[in-house]
Amino acid sequence: MRVGEGVGGRRPRCGLCSFAVASLASDLNAIRSLASEAKREREAGAERAAKERAELISYLLPSAEVLLENMAYLCEDAAEEWLNVISKSVESIRRALSEEDFGSAELRAESALGFMSSLFARCGGRCKP
């Protein structure tokens, strides 16, 4: 399925897809870094610092989720399978976070980031100035 055509074959506003993809990449990158730090803090016995990093991740997750929720409407050629893969990764990050498995959260964020270049490549199609 090709998504992003919205109602009546409308075109997304120019720059909106790139903005959404860049914001999502930025959120995922921050989540990965924080999960990595949380893992290190826990290994070093700094449990409180690890929990603080986890709390910061929980503030970033809704932003990533809302971007994913709307990507299909904003990027003309965003392929559904990539969005699904990234969405599953974000769901896994949330689950890993609730289990305080920071290593898994880091890996999932890393995995989602791996698909971002595919999304980026799909920006810049027809758009409305």
Binding site: G6, V7, R10, P12, R13, G15, L16, F19, S23, P62, S63, E65, V66, L67, E69, N70, Y73, L74
Partner: protein, 144 residues
């Protein structure tokens, strides 16, 4: 209650009507980006907001009427970018409702800040306000 704004004592004559028109223009543009029909919008006096939204609200979305109601007096106290976040937050409730119907708001039994649909709307406002800042200033001309 009609969509005609009730001018609060703090608003200069015509200001509310101009801002309501600008809000309508802004929301029409954003609605087009998200592939939804625009919501209607009403700016109301702070003293009247309780009957529309509940006490102390800066704004709300009334799904039955597909209408965003904004508290003029409350917004007047906010930084202009925070006003944009409020508008986008309420706009996202409109999107949620049009995409999922009443089910979108099925978490009302939870405390306000723990409701997923509110958390998402808040995230939407914060995230997309960065993109819509220019359009917002251009249409509303509220840069101080």
């Amino acid at each position: 209650m009609s969509d005609v704004a009730q001018r609060p004592s703090s608003a200069p004559e015509g200001a509310m009507e101009r801002r309501e028109r600008a809000l309508r223009e802004f929301l029409t543009a954003v609605s087009e980006d998200f592939g939804v029909d625009p919501p209607s919008v009403a700016l109301v006096d702070g003293s009247k907001i309780a009957s529309q939204c509940g006490l102390r609200a800066c704004g709300c979305y009334r799904s039955r009427e597909k209408k965003i109601v904004l508290n003029y007096d409350c917004l007047a106290e906010l930084d202009v970018l925070d006003v944009l976040k409020v508008v986008l937050h309420e706009f996202y409730h409109h999107v949620q409702f049009l995409r999922r119907g009443r089910e979108a708001f099925s978490d009302l039994d939870k405390p306000y800040r723990e409701r997923p649909h509110e958390v998402r709307a808040e995230a939407f406002g914060k995230t997309f306000s960065r993109f819509y800042e220019d359009l917002w200033f251009r249409i509303l001309g509220w840069r101080s």
